[in-house]
């Protein structure tokens, strides 16, 4: 199996005034194509920081991060935006949909920034929304949907550009048990189709769905590579 994520000696520090707060203290791991990895840890452990760096929303203070064999840890911000657009699909706990756009437009958003024509965008977005079972809600605003439906829109938006990895941050955190289970099933299906999924969670039940769990405590990995 080829490694899709290769992180070595990654450190991240935040400066808060005169104090430097360490968030990651030297993290190394590899994620292979097709894996479903859960990143677990208590709050303040650094798992969100790690996810932001994996998602190219933030850059590490030290260390190297290869995504698909590209050294993204040293890329400029403009290039990172392109990586986010093409290679990463985000799913958040709070859905993060744009409230004034209908769900079709929300799903089209990454395609717009990718520079696709209007026609192509609509076509692709409709197809993906169909896959998550929302083809009858295209013109609805997010506020007109249930939590589970909103998260499905978010998943559609995450996969619409056919990304290298799907990053999910507590995707079931705001959902009731049955909607949460639905969402996890969608992730499992996506994984079965060959998608690489990285999910941040603190819920062991959720982590059970993953093929591997990385535990992070105080900015360090504990028993990281045990499946």
């Amino acid at each position: 199996m080829s490694d899709i994520i290769n992180i070595a000696g990654m450190k991240k520090e935040y400066k808060m005034g005169k104090i430097t707060v360490p968030a990651l203290n030297g993290v190394d791991f590899i994620i292979n194509k097709g894996e479903f990895v859960a990143i677990m840890g208590p709050s303040g452990s650094g798992k969100s920081t790690l996810m932001h760096i994996i998602g190219c929303l933030d850059s590490p203070t030290a260390g190297k991060y290869y995504l698909n064999s590209e050294l993204v840890s040293e890329m400029k911000k403009g290039k990172l935006a392109m990586i986010r657009n093409k290679q990463i699909g985000f799913v958040f706990q709070t859905f993060n949909l744009l409230p004034h756009l209908n769900i079709l437009k929300n799903v089209e958003l990454p395609l717009m920034y990718a520079g696709l024509s209007k026609k192509k965008r609509t076509q692709t977005a409709k197809k993906v929304l169909d896959e998550v079972g929302l083809s009858d809600r295209l013109k609805h605003k997010p506020s007109e949907l249930s939590g589970g439906q909103r998260q499905r829109v978010a998943i559609a938006r995450a996969i619409v550009n056919d990304p290298t990895i799907i990053l999910a941050d507590e995707p079931t955190g705001n959902l009731d048990t049955s909607s949460g289970a639905d969402i996890l099933s969608i992730f499992s299906e996506l994984n079965d189709k060959g998608n690489t999924i990285i999910m941040v969670t603190h819920d062991p039940a959720v982590a059970n769905r993953a093929t591997r769990v990385i535990n992070i405590v105080d900015g360090l990995i504990k028993d990281g590579n045990i499946s």
Partner: protein, 408 residues
Amino acid sequence: MAISLKENLIIGFSDFWSRKIRSLITIIGIVLGTMSIIVVLALVKGINQQTMKWMLERGGLSKITVSRNWQYQNPENVKTYFTWKELQLIRSLIPEAKYFNPQQRHWVRQSYADKEYRTAIYGVLPDFSKIEEWDVEDGRFISDFDVEQSNDVIVIGTTVKEELFGNKNAIGEVITVEGRRLNVIGIMAFRYMKNSGAIGNENAFSYLNRQTFVPLSTMIHKGTGEDEISRFTLKAQDVKSAPALREKINNIVLNLRRGLPVFEVESAKEEAEKMAENQKMFSTIFYIISVISLLVGAIVIANIMLATIQERTREIGIRLTVGARRRDIFFQFLVQTILVTTIGGIIGVILGLSILDIVSNFLGIDLIASINMIFLALLVSSGIGFVSGIVPAIIASKLDPVEALRYE
């Protein structure tokens, strides 16, 4: 691979539409500003044209006038008028002048049958008609022969004709002026110009229609007997040579009065330039006021945009997350601001043009709109959008995606 302008415009329109009240308030500010620009520009242009028209109607820009300088108190007690001999000398010294007309004016009672009318009578030469570019509509004007012979003839304005003769024919009739009987040989053409200023829409030239004219020699020899002429006008070959001629006459006139500034020599061209200069100051003040009001508008819009960006921090975070680049965010907000101000500008131009008539009637001044003004107003309103949008757009584009996503 930035998103296109068209895309940005679509986003801009939908943002604009989803925040109707805020957009509306912003637009109203710009509409008022643009309207005032249009009105001010049209006003300034109207006033300038009015002045120029006045100048042209009163004999054009090559006209030169010599008259008593009322600011000079005459402590040396020199003659404050020219004699006929002096005028002949002056004329001989300026052969380059195209036309030359000394004149005398008196207020007299003129009567015909049982009708009487008090008005101004001028003693003039035939050149008067040429200098003023004003001819008779009926009969003929005073000729060289009339002047040589001091003929008892008179040319009257249309108002005088109506007052004394009504609808009857006046040519060939005899008017009595201060006991002397004068033959009516001509009726001057009716003069009209729309008034400017607060007086309303009366004819600014109505005083011309009340004038009457006799040969200067007739006035001197048979009328007053006074060989005292305090005013003469002349015309240069063309507008270009007018200032030089004015200078020459000024020297002649000064020499005749031992260098004392008894007389004032004015050229219409220089007058017009002086007036234009005065009006420039006037219009500059107008412009400054408009610019200040638009700057206030720009600050308000910048403020609104900053508030909007704060509200939309999370949206910016989401857009960054799905692949928007900093310049996409920058253009999204800049285009949106420019869009709002340009829409405001277009409405402002339309409303401004449509209220010109109302303002024109209110002020009694013709307001003149032109294509340039419309472009200028639109340029200014989109410029305001640019100026007020650029700082908020930079701030939006500099947001950190992680921070922006966390924003509640």
